[in-house]
């Protein structure tokens, strides 16, 4: 499948999700369903971070430490941008060592 088709399928899937909430708003969704759904993004993001680390095992340690540095930078400042910049800076620094 070419990249354009993958992108278009993704666009349709994401749009369908955005629309389905509006369409369901008049009815009601089982509470159990809403309870599980609210944690899907948190769990998926966490899984993506771990699989991203595993994709380059040779750089596992510097990347893990750099993620911690990014988390610290974000906690102190509350800014997402500092997490990315701080993490990249720590990563490059650790690779030089």
């Amino acid at each position: 499948m070419s990249a354009i088709w993958i992108i278009l399928t993704m666009a349709v899937a994401v749009y369908a999700l955005r629309l389905s909430g509006f369409l369901l708003a008049s009815g009601s969704l089982a509470r159990g369903g809403e309870n599980v759904l609210q944690f899907v993004p948190v769990a998926t993001l966490s899984a993506l971070i771990v699989s991203g680390l595993a994709a380059r095992p040779a750089e596992g340690t510097p990347r893990l430490l750099a993620l911690l540095a990014g988390a610290l930078a974000a906690r102190r400042s509350g800014a997402a941008l500092l997490c990315i910049l701080g993490g990249m800076a720590a990563y490059w620094l650790l690779r030089l060592l």
Binding site: A3, L19, S20, G21, S26, L37, F39, V40, S51, R95
Partner: protein, 226 residues
Amino acid sequence: MLPLWIGAIPVGIAYAASARAAGLSAGETQFMSLTVFSAAAQLSAVSLLASGTSAPLLVATAAALNVQALLLGLAAGRRIRPSLPARLLAACFLTDAAYGVTAAGKRFTLAGLLGAGASMYLAWNTGTALGLAAGGVFPSGRRLGLDFVAPLTFLAVLLPLVRTRAALCAALSAAAVTVLLLKIAPGGVAVLGAGFAGSVAGAGWQRRGGQTAAGAPAAAATEAQT
């Protein structure tokens, strides 16, 4: 509104850099921002594409990352009761940032939601274009390790979402299950399986502890229901 712009533009730049590092053309990179308009979905697609994940898994992961859009739509729909054409239009721009800005305002209106969403759309696409324009500066993205921007961005998006023990439980269980699943399954399957397992663990923790709504979307949905 301004802080959101300041947030969306650099993430757009980071997305463009990782998309180019993963081998997408400049046109495809911008096309994805124009049609998908979801930082988490696009970054996951790009990093899974780089690891050779199959298309159905890639699309399923992008959808899993946007499940909260369903909850946001429920909450917004209950508050403003839009007509069908208005729903079709509002769904194009519905993101948690747009919902958050509208909910923080004095009155929750369709015009407010559309305005916030459309300006985020503009910022996101401007960021992508800027990242593409700057792309020539980094000739070898992979050697510089620019693919590491994706996990860092996921972390930046994840941190503010982990506000309760139930959410922390979901994140940690998902991380542990990913480590296990990666030993027996390809990356895309591991991410989806761990995402599901982590969500069930988080909901289980919440039920056991009797905690109320963990994330903003769920809180908003509850509020709109009452």
